[in-house]
Amino acid sequence: MNRVLLLPLLAALLFAGCTGDGGKADAGAEEITITGAGASFPYPLIAKWSYEYHKLKPNIKINYQSIGSGGGIKQTMAKTVDFGASDAPLKEEEYRKMEGILHIPETIGAVVVVYNLPGVENKLKLSGEVVADIFLGKITKWNDPRIAELNPDISLPDEQIIVVHRSDGSGTTFVFSDYLSAVSPEWREKVGKGKSLNWPLGLGGKGNEGVSGLVKQNPYSIGYVELAYAIENRISYAHIKNRAGKFVEPSIESVAAAAAGAVASLPKGDESWAEVSIVNAPGENAYPISSFTYLLVYRDLSVIPGMTEAKAKALVEFLWWVIHDGQKYAPELHYAPLPEEVVKLNEETIRLITYQDKSLL
């Protein structure tokens, strides 16, 4: 009985092995697997890239593990992966520890303020100061004069505001708190920015789905999620007042406008990005709560154990493809494509990458 079962299984395995080898031989190139690890926020986009790139170059596989920015930075530091990914730039201290690390912003994400006000869909207007005071617990009612002032055409209910935030450490929280710190001195002093915070009040939901679940279930609540998540799940989001004083609806265009507005102040790829932030960016149409997310690559790839010249070349070519052709996959997944200026900056950065001092492009 056992043998009867075993034989076809063996045959199938052998066959699978053969076809696998055959495929490799056809491509006429060595099979290369590039591993990366890090942030979960850009994961859908990176997964799409790795799928499309594999179709383009069948001998190259990109294996990306979305273990969180923290894990990504740690693995990059330990040189166990070929590239890392993080939603926040490396801190000054981390940057100094990881000698020769490069930041390559690969896409832009935005955070939207979502709310549940029965009858008021997608038209609430808020300013950064008001959002900060709601999350600080200083504005507690929906009909507070400061909210009413921004929304003269909406009749706001006399109800307690239920604040919802992320309970898990996340890049989304980082961007949101980065923005609040930029617009509210009190927030900066009392809470600050980070992936996890000491929240003054509110309910914690796990992940975007946890926060949106809480907001959907609790009338009169307010929270924040990623743009893509809010669009796909049709949750009402607020228009936010930007630096130019205009109320801007979050969209791929307004997020890209924010990145373009911040370009002038960006450092070079091999410098520290610790202070980089595109929240509250200047520009008429810039949506103020947005952020780059970064790929982290060593300048000299030979520092990574097991790296070969062929693999280093494949990685650099993949990065080049990501910042050019790869960008066209961003909008369908609700990420904003990089503005021209950032692509140029990245080109310079990628040209810096070497293998044993040999240039790869």
Binding site: S40, I67, G68, S69, G70, G71, I73, K74, K91, E94, Q160, I162, S167, D168, G169, S170, G171, V191, G192, K193, G194, K195, S196, L197, N198, W199, L201, G202, L203, G204, G205, K206, G210, G213, L214, Q217, N218
Partner: protein, 321 residues
């Protein structure tokens, strides 16, 4: 007919004979003891090494501080310890009477047909993955608590600090209810075994003396099985303390200590699951590992107590039989 039963001759010191059997026993004993010790030591070493930056920075104060601020790097585990203990105790408070009721009903009262259907159903509860129970908690239980359970509690018992509003549905109470559901299968099935082990002579004696069935259950069956039942409760407590997914989905995840059960809370397991992936700071990571160390210590203690009680109970039973 003589069966050669490999008796535990070394353990009770009787009939000491140097046979291949005893050598084999010693060999197995040494191996199992070593493997357990090595495993425990490795685990402890890793935890302590990982937690060292936090251990040295905060010392014992870590256990009594309720600061949890990843931005400024101040950490204390008190809200998590509090949340874990309160939600687990709540689970026991709700779960134990229900489990005992189920166990007594299934062994003493239900007809055999009902028993054949009901007892697998109760045990099947244990097979539901905790994330599924958590989802059910989000979509069914939390709204139920907010709309139907909390309002009467606040109306009639609102003068107690335990039931102060407002209620969001995501609360320590909801977590306690979810945990109660998760520990009922364990406690009820172990208690059922214990009640089944009560000799029928005892029960018949009690009935013969004129006791009603209720009196027999209360004064003969339960006291006889109480050791094992206590062990079962401790096993349930162990599960409740360590449960992560279902709790973090309904407890509201707020690291503050509220006296009201209708307010959100946080548990040790939940904070580790939530914050570990994005913790980049050394001290932050160490603080999370130290929370793990505290959790490990508490569940070890609970399990040791459970073992000790079950052991004692087994000895008593052996002595009686």
């Amino acid at each position: 007919m003589k069966l050669r039963v490999p008796s535990f001759s070394i353990l009770n010191g009787k009939n000491w004979k140097f046979t291949p059997d005893t050598i084999f026993q010693i060999f197995l004993g040494v191996i199992s003891i070593i493997s357990v010790i090595v495993l425990a030591a490795l685990l402890l070493r890793e935890l302590i090494r990982g937690a060292w930056p936090a251990l040295s920075a905060f010392g014992l104060g870590f256990l009594f501080s309720s600061a949890w601020n990843p931005v400024t790097g101040e950490f204390g585990a008190l809200p998590f310890i509090y949340g874990t203990i309160v939600s687990s105790m709540l689970a026991l408070l709700i779960g134990v009477p229900l489990s005992l009721g189920i166990a007594v009903y299934l062994t003493e009262i239900a007809s055999s047909r009902v028993r054949a259907i009901l007892s697998p159903v109760v045990e099947l509860l244990a097979a539901i993955p905790s994330v599924i129970i958590g989802l059910w908690g989000i979509f069914v239980l939390a709204p139920f608590v907010r709309e139907h359970l909390a309002p009467p509690l606040m109306n009639y018992l609102g003068f107690l600090p335990l039931f102060k509003g407002p209620a969001y549905g995501y609360s320590v109470l909801t977590a306690g209810l979810v945990l109660a559901i998760m520990i009922i299968p364990i406690i009820s099935s172990v208690s059922r075994e214990a009640i089944l082990a009560v000799p029928s002579l005892q029960k018949e004696g009690s009935l013969a003396l004129g006791a009603t069935r209720f009196e027999t259950i209360i004064s003969v069956v339960l006291p006889y099985a109480k050791g094992a039942i206590f062990g079962a409760v401790m096993l349930g407590l162990g599960r409740a303390i360590g449960e992560t997914m279902a709790v973090t989905m309904v407890i509201g995840n707020n690291p503050q200590i509220f006296t009201s059960l209708l307010h959100p809370g946080y548990t040790m397991a939940a904070v580790i699951a939530n914050e570990f992936t994005e913790a980049t700071d050394d001290v932050y990571l160490a603080a999370l590992i130290e929370v793990g160390l505290v959790l490990f210590a508490i569940s070890m203690v609970v399990n040791i107590i459970a073992r000790a009680i079950t052991w004692k109970y087994l000895k008593v039973q052996e002595g009686q039989s």
